[in-house]
Assembly symmetry: C2
Homo-oligomer: 162 residues x 2
Amino acid sequence: MTDLDTRVHLLLRAGGHTVATAESLTGGRLAVHLTDVPGASETYRGGIVAYATEVKSSVLQVPAELIDEHGVVSAECAQAMATGARALTGASYAVSTTGVAGPAEQEGKAPGTVFVGISGPGLLRALELDLAGERRDIQEQTCVHALEALAAILVSEETPLG
Amino acid sequence: MTDLDTRVHLLLRAGGHTVATAESLTGGRLAVHLTDVPGASETYRGGIVAYATEVKSSVLQVPAELIDEHGVVSAECAQAMATGARALTGASYAVSTTGVAGPAEQEGKAPGTVFVGISGPGLLRALELDLAGERRDIQEQTCVHALEALAAILVSEETPLG
């Protein structure tokens, strides 16, 4: 459990929010971050590890045409995965990860090419990452970036401008 | 990645099988074991982290009456979770975990009370575990027992009696 895991949990709890995950390259690691915090069941509802492409379509309802057009290593797929996880679980927010952990490239994209999606009330974003390192480093850095992005959104939501 | 993770991957691959996960108390850790192995995408299709009880029903299709009657910390729930994950992902095998990681008890059951479910072709089993240790130990031991149970089934399948 890291300070970032705890921070995300406390920000979610403070706002009365819950979160879900939809993971491809991180293969369950993002769920582990969110369930490592004592009291995780207050804020974490669940998630989908959509490792096979067909699971992204059949479980997360990512449209097959979207995958045909943009590939699974894309901002569009990341957003659709987050949207699907949020709908499936009823969580207020959902965070997704899709990309190339390596060592081989995928869809012609190099290891370290990663997209994070975040879906929330009136919000749908994607973040492109260009990460370096071994497979495990890329997976772990993806989790940290995803949690930091969610934390930033939760902070901005709690302190609206004006 | 452990030798056991690799062994399960190789046994699955040798039999032309795939696997899915349905996790409650392990919160994504079983998926991490199965995706840590190089070439995991050949055998691991995906999984569901069903942390909230409602996600067990809404995503994994565990009948609400089953939960009312037996609770989520039960052999019946473990079997229904594995059945649900197998159906959702199209994997040949599915492994589920449900139980009490602690520190608090749940449904009047002590930390360390854990059930593992395994669903496969013509096969539906549950394994009851009585584990000791801290929360993290209980989660990790659950993963090891679940993978060992799957490996034993895969071995017995490959060397039929007679």
